[in-house]
């Protein structure tokens, strides 16, 4: 059973958003890492890249699958999790601890369109 954490925002494409003030940490959910299997590579954006809600900001690859990362929020990338470059398996170890990018949010109202933990858990159960 995949882990879901209270207090985060979730997208239908299985990314989570953890908000801290005007910033947000974006990563993939525990459910997503389970579905992918052994993660071998994370294609991350660069600092200062502009990301837009519902658009790709990278990809996560396992041996037999690849999944585009869809940003749930818009903003500017202020930091990427460089630890994932050498150790992509961190996503398998703890997907919530190992966020992928930190974004300065340009439109916090976008968060309203995302799911809370309860709604997301229901989605996972359905799939």
């Amino acid at each position: 059973m995949a882990k879901v954490i209270e207090g985060l925002f979730y997208s239908e494409s299985h990314e989570y958003v953890k908000v801290e003030g005007d910033f947000a940490y974006v990563g993939i959910t525990d459910y997503a890492q389970h579905a992918l299997g052994n993660v071998v590579y994370v294609d991350m954006p660069e600092v200062d890249d502009e990301v837009e809600a519902d658009e790709d900001f990278g990809a996560v690859e396992s041996v037999k699958a690849a999944s585009d990362l869809i940003s749930p929020v818009s903003g500017t990338v202020v930091e990427v999790n460089e630890a994932l470059e050498d150790k992509p398996e961190l996503l398998n170890e703890d997907a919530f601890e190992n966020w992928i990018m930190k974004v300065q949010l340009s439109d916090k109202s976008e968060l309203d369109a995302l799911m809370d933990a309860t709604a997301y858990e229901e989605l996972c159960n359905k799939e």
Binding site: V40, Y41, D43, A59, E61, S62, V63, K64, A65, A66, D68
Partner: protein, 442 residues
């Protein structure tokens, strides 16, 4: 059935149909609407025996003339060591599929790893893929790779000194994929760097494509090209004639991000233009943007060093429309050809073959100029191919060569012939060509 490729006896067919719950072979196709069934006869010849086939191709072959080849323009008559065609005809290599089942495909995986290693060495790049179709499609794919690896770009610059056949393919891909191709003009047959620099500064350029030796046979000086490209975050892509890299400064040394080209020059028979093999190498940084198959080293569950197809998440069978390319089949057997060629020729042999070609071309060039019938088209260094102007009727001269069993260059302009020489051409053959030219003018 009584045909050599069908093992089924009449009784077996009946038996098998019965077990499959069918009454006739036609029943197997009951779901094909009658209106689209093909009930007619194919407009094809009657079946032919091996003897008839041999004699047919013997006759067709007589309508082809084997010439002493002094033409290049992307296809070169280099020497093929006897070992190579013999080994690649081994059925374990020839009749196997793409090595998806690593446990019973180590032969293929192993040689692709060697091929990648050799191509990376030859081009001076970090990594190589397992092969592309040919030099032109590899170049077009490099252009698409540049667009995918850069931001806010929509244009690829191609030097006017690139082979027009390659340029046509790049333009075709560009037309449909949706990017611009702009030509960098040439100056006395070589890429005009000042023009390139100016265009790069305007922005929007994903990559610059040049060729070495270029279409005219000229060895270009790419000093500063990579810096100009990188200053604008564009990729520098060098298309080279593989065999010539044994001696020439490598794409890696010129600072290329991607090295592509055709491997035919590495002893692959001309075969009317194919199959050949395209190669693509790049920097480690771009590795995951590369199209095509890639083999990597790993271990098996018995602790042995083994090889396996890797980084497959780039490929069409996983990524579908988001793949780096649509390529599936490549030219694997020809990559094996290249690998065995480079194994027997080795570090010294590839240099020696390239040097003889270089020397033979310069010998021919000097002899033609000495006749006073030819003059230099360009005042630039060349490798084993060069352009000269002829002060007579080019068509008539070429016809005279043909009558004497010689493919005497490629006509690249109304007054210009481009000659290529390989290590297969002897002094006697070259002298004969020069004498025909002299006699033609008498």
């Amino acid at each position: 059935m009584n045909f050599k490729f069908f093992p089924h006896t009449k009784e077996e067919i009946e038996q098998m149909l019965k077990q499959a719950g069918m009454n006739s072979l036609d029943d197997l196709y009951a779901d094909v609407p009658e209106q689209i069934r093909f009930r007619g006869e194919y407009d094809l010849p009657e079946p032919m025996s091996e003897t008839e086939i041999r004699s047919l191709f013997e006759k067709l072959g007589e309508k082809n003339r084997r010439l002493t080849v002094f033409a290049g323009a992307g296809c070169y008559d280099h020497y093929t060591p006897a070992v190579v065609p013999n080994i690649i005809s081994r059925s374990e290599f020839l009749t196997s599929y793409t090595p998806y089942q690593a446990e019973i495909s180590q032969g293929t995986l192993h040689y692709i790893f060697e091929y990648q290693s050799m191509m990376a060495e030859l081009t001076g790049m970090d990594v190589s893929n397992a092969s592309m179709y040919d030099g032109s499609t590899a170049t077009a794919e490099a252009a698409i790779m540049a667009l995918a690896s850069t931001k806010k770009t929509d244009t690829v610059l191609v030097s006017a000194s690139v082979d027009p056949k390659v340029l046509n393919v790049v333009k075709t891909y560009a037309h449909f994929h949706g990017f611009n191709v702009e030509l960098i003009p040439e100056n006395d047959g070589a890429t005009d760097k000042a023009h390139m620099d100016a265009r790069l500064e305007k922005g929007g350029v994903a990559g610059v494509i040049v060729q070495q030796p270029n279409y005219h046979g000229i060895v270009e000086d790419f000093t500063g090209f990579a810096d100009s490209c990188h200053a604008q975050k564009s990729l520098f892509i060098v298309n080279s004639v593989a065999a010539d890299l044994a001696l020439l400064k490598t794409p890696g040394e010129w600072g290329a991000d991607v090295a592509v080209g055709d491997g035919q020059s590495v002893g692959i028979p001309m075969a009317f233009g194919g199959p050949s093999v395209g190669y693509m190498c790049c920097t480690e940084k771009l590795m995951r943007k590369m199209p095509g198959r890639i083999v990597g080293k790993t271990v098996d569950n018995r602790g042995q060093r083994v090889f396996v197809l890797t980084l497959q998440a780039r490929e069409q069978h996983i990524r579908r429309q988001k793949a780096t390319s649509n390529i599936c089949s490549n030219e694997s057997l020809m990559a094996l050809f290249v690998t065995i060629y480079m194994s027997v020729m080795g570090k010294e042999g590839v240099k020696e073959a390239a040097q003889i070609s270089y020397d033979g071309a310069h010998y021919l060039h000097d002899a033609l100029i000495a006749t006073d019938l030819f003059s230099n088209k360009y005042e630039r260094p060349f490798f084993n191919e060069f352009c000269v102007k002829y002060n007579g009727d080019v068509d008539r001269l070429q016809q005279r060569f043909i009558e004497n069993g010689i493919l005497g260059g490629v006509k690249v302009d109304t007054d210009t012939l481009m000659f290529a020489v390989t290590e297969k051409r002897t002094k006697e053959e070259i002298d004969k060509l020069v004498n025909i030219a002299k006699e033609e003018k008498l």
